[in-house]
């Protein structure tokens, strides 16, 4: 393909972009969309975008707290990129790796006490719990957005302080979630591939169960898997926890009741025991051939490559089916890099993060994680690594298709509390496992949410 055609293929007129974005955003109810994300990406122009200059502190030591890699290559490449920065700047980086849930608790404590690491790679609402403890990183975010095609709209929700243009965090990547399924079993059920609409999806799952190949979706307190699929399900029917004003609780609606009724149908196709599932359970069940369909990050594909080749041959992935709402409405885990104000090396910290987001570093890092990390800057959508394997490709759309935790309200302590207390997960568990009526379950969820959002 000629260079001109490639550019034209990528080029989207500003009017088209606004039209399509407006349609999607109106449906999604997004209120804020910065001009940066409408910026028409052009490599030549991008090359002229000047990086902000940071006068590094003398002999800086940057302390970073981040989550342990889900795949081995993640940490290896991250560390290699870090060494590159150290060599180029003479600075030093001390990285502490913790399990992703422990990072959140530790970051919260450091925010409370005002001491500890300089940079944290947190998750979801973390920066919005203590925004006044964080450095303004608008300069870095604006530069990266201009250079790399703009941030996905959901990243602006996660990165910016609500109602302002101030960036308090840089969304660094999403541990994207997609549907994983067994191709041969879906064919056995009479389908060429799993349907991409929820109605067809449920029908196919019923046929899979009838053939002795149940599905499996976590209904226990699985922080990652439980929250992501239940939020996708709820939003796909038009349900939501709270309105845009962040005060009016919207969970007790006919859309939610429809979602709960449909979830009950899906639950009938599941393997017994999903109410006890934490995050590792669906991986184990899928890789041992006990379930035919689940939702997960790309760890199933990654693990099956070497250890379960038969499963790997039969595995396919796809983005979450679309529900009656008519557009993608997913939730994936998203990680954000933020810098505490208590850092003695603010310039070095910003310089380091900018460096790690640059194509030479970020491109390599993302390419080697086998689809586990989905990009937050649009330019990285076109990395060749996404085409390495068809099972990886759907994951590059995760951030593009997702909404944010606490949709349609703002991110903050209320949305964080609602997720940490599994309000949505338990609502579905109440109906599917507990036998509660959808009305009663929605009412119970409403009571809990009212407490958090008052």
């Amino acid at each position: 393909m000629s260079e001109r055609k490639k550019k034209e293929g990528k080029k989207v007129s500003r009017r088209d972009f606004i039209k399509k974005s407006a349609a999607g955003l109106a449906g999604a109810g997004l209120a804020t969309l910065s001009m940066d994300s409408l910026f028409q990406w052009n490599p030549a122009l991008a090359a002229e975008v000047k990086a902000p200059t940071f006068k590094l502190e003398k002999n800086p030591v940057v302390k970073v707290l981040r989550w342990s890699g889900f795949v081995k290559s993640d940490e290896q490449i991250w560390n290699a990129n870090t060494k590159k920065w150290e060599k180029e700047t003479g600075g030093k980086v001390v990285t502490e790796y913790l399990s992703w849930e422990d990072v959140r608790s530790k970051a919260a404590m450091e925010a409370s006490v005002g001491a500890g690491h300089d940079i944290v790679l947190g998750w979801y609402d973390d920066p919005h719990l203590y925004p006044d403890k964080l450095l303004d990183v608008s300069d870095v975010a604006t530069y990266l957005g201009k250079k790399y095609g703009g941030w996905y709209p959901v990243c602006e929700m996660y990165g910016k302080l609500y109602g302002t243009d101030k960036w308090i965090a840089l969304p660094i990547g999403s541990a994207g979630i997609c549907i994983n399924y067994r191709v041969s079993w879906v064919k056995e059920a009479g389908y060429e591939k799993l349907p991409s609409d929820i109605e067809g999806f449920i029908k196919c799952c019923k046929k899979l169960k009838a053939k002795g190949h149940p599905t499996g979706f976590a209904l226990g307190h699985a922080v990652g898997d439980g929250n992501t699929w239940t939020h996708w399900w709820l939003w796909s029917f038009g349900g939501k926890a709270v309105e845009k004003d962040g005060k009016t609780i919207a969970i007790n609606s006919k859309e939610t009741l429809q979602a709960l009724d449909a979830a009950k149908e899906l639950y009938e196709t599941m393997i017994p025991g999903v109410a006890s599932w934490l995050d590792p359970h669906n991986n184990k069940a899928f890789l041992s051939g006990q379930i035919s369909v689940t939702s997960n990050g790309n760890s199933i594909f990654y693990a099956s490559r070497k250890k379960f080749p038969e499963i790997n041959k039969d595995l396919m992935t796809m983005n979450f089916p679309v529900g009656p709402v008519g557009h993608p409405a997913e939730l994936s885990m998203i990680s954000q890099a933020f810098i505490f104000k208590h850092t003695p090396v603010p310039n070095a910290a910003k310089h380091y993060l900018t460096f790690m987001f640059e194509k030479a570093q970020y491109g390599k890092w993302e390419s080697e994680t086998w689809g586990y990390i989905t990009q937050t800057l649009k330019d990285y959508y076109n990395l060749p690594a996404w085409k390495k394997d068809p099972r990886i490709t759907p994951y590059r759309d995760c951030v593009k298709r997702m909404l944010w935790n606490g949709y349609a309200g703002p991110l903050g302590p209320a949305s964080a509390a609602a997720m940490s207390e599994y309000v949505i997960v338990d609502m579905f568990a109440d109906v599917c496992v507990g036998g509660k009526s959808p009305k009663a379950a929605a009412a119970a969820a409403e009571r809990k949410l009212k407490k958090f959002y008052r």
Partner: protein
């Protein structure tokens, strides 16, 4: 020796140094421990109580809100479920630990070949770090991969795996079983030590009088072991009531909050959810029960003395 004094009165005692004064040296010896207790126990405790009266959120100092957090909890379904779970978990687990631990102590107190080795093996559940043993039980009680289910299915006794942790009732039973397994050695070893202090001549005299084993147990063993039993039971109540890691590893308080106890619910609300004030209020409910346990036990001990 007569003290010599030109004035004719008794000699004045030489002045006593500060370190020789009664109480001062003792105070100084206990000072390091007092400082540690003050800083690492008393201060966090008082801070926690204070936080429970505020609307503090992670990363933001809060303001005094009086009893608002407590009132909110009283209106929360999840709180009452948690309270129920905690009491159920403690009462059932401690009861079985006591009965089984006591029985095992009586058996192990006898003389038999290999008793040293058996006693060491009995201590293992207590020695193994809770997190590790809990992870093992998490596998044993897995809804799809349980070795118990596998065995029963292979023996033809069941057609499908047991959902150990997926139903509220089963999940509660499972976590209680794990707690009992872990806690039996504490009762066994402690009571065994107590049994060995009982004078054997009492049993010999009872034998002469033709007392049955039950009469010997009721009239000799139980009364003499009661003070130690009360202390051990109190400790067990405290540790079981304030448990955290076992529930957190196995179920995270699920399914549907059916296994949440005060410790896990408090952590979830305060640290995961960021609401420090509310989390502190939840954990404050642990204190009165423990305080009452200690008071009852110490009264009991004083009476026995």
């Amino acid at each position: 020796m007569r003290s010599g004094n030109a004035g004719g009165g008794a000699l004045k005692a030489p002045p006593v140094g500060l370190l020789q004064r009664k109480g001062v040296l003792g105070f100084l010896f206990t000072l390091p421990a007092d400082i540690i207790l003050l800083l690492l126990l008393a201060y966090p405790f008082v801070l926690g109580i204070w936080l429970s009266f505020t609307n503090t959120i992670i990363g933001r100092s809060g303001s005094f809100v009086g009893l608002e957090n407590y009132i909110d909890l009283f209106h929360s379904d999840v709180f009452w479920l948690t309270a129920f779970n905690t009491v159920l978990y403690t009462v059932v687990a401690v009861f079985f630990k006591l009965i089984l631990g006591f029985g095992l102590a009586i058996v192990l107190n006898k003389d038999f070949k290999g008793k040293g080795l058996i006693r060491a093996i009995v201590l293992l559940p207590w020695i193994v770090p809770t997190a590790l043993s809990t992870i093992a039980f998490w596998w044993i009680f897995d809804s799809n991969f349980s070795c118990i289910s596998w065995l029963l299915m292979h023996l033809g006794l069941m057609s499908h795996p047991i959902d150990f942790l997926g139903s509220p009732v089963n999940a509660r039973i499972s976590v209680i079983i794990v707690n009992i397994w872990r806690g039996i050695p504490f009762f066994t070893i402690g009571l065994m030590a107590g049994l060995q202090t009982i004078n054997q001549t009492l049993y010999e005299a009872a034998d002469i009088d033709g007392a049955t084993p039950w009469v010997k147990f009721k009239s000799i063993t139980l009364p003499l072991i009661m003070p130690l039993l009360a202390v051990i039971t109190t400790f067990s109540i405290i540790w079981t009531f304030a448990d955290f890691q076992l529930i957190w590893i196995m179920t995270r308080g699920g399914p549907d909050n059916a296994t949440h106890i005060f410790g896990t619910f408090s952590f979830q609300r305060a640290i995961a959810g960021g609401h420090l004030g509310e989390g502190a209020a939840i954990s404050a409910f642990i204190f009165p029960v423990l305080f009452i346990s200690v008071v009852i036990t110490s009264k009991f001990l004083k009476r026995e003395a």
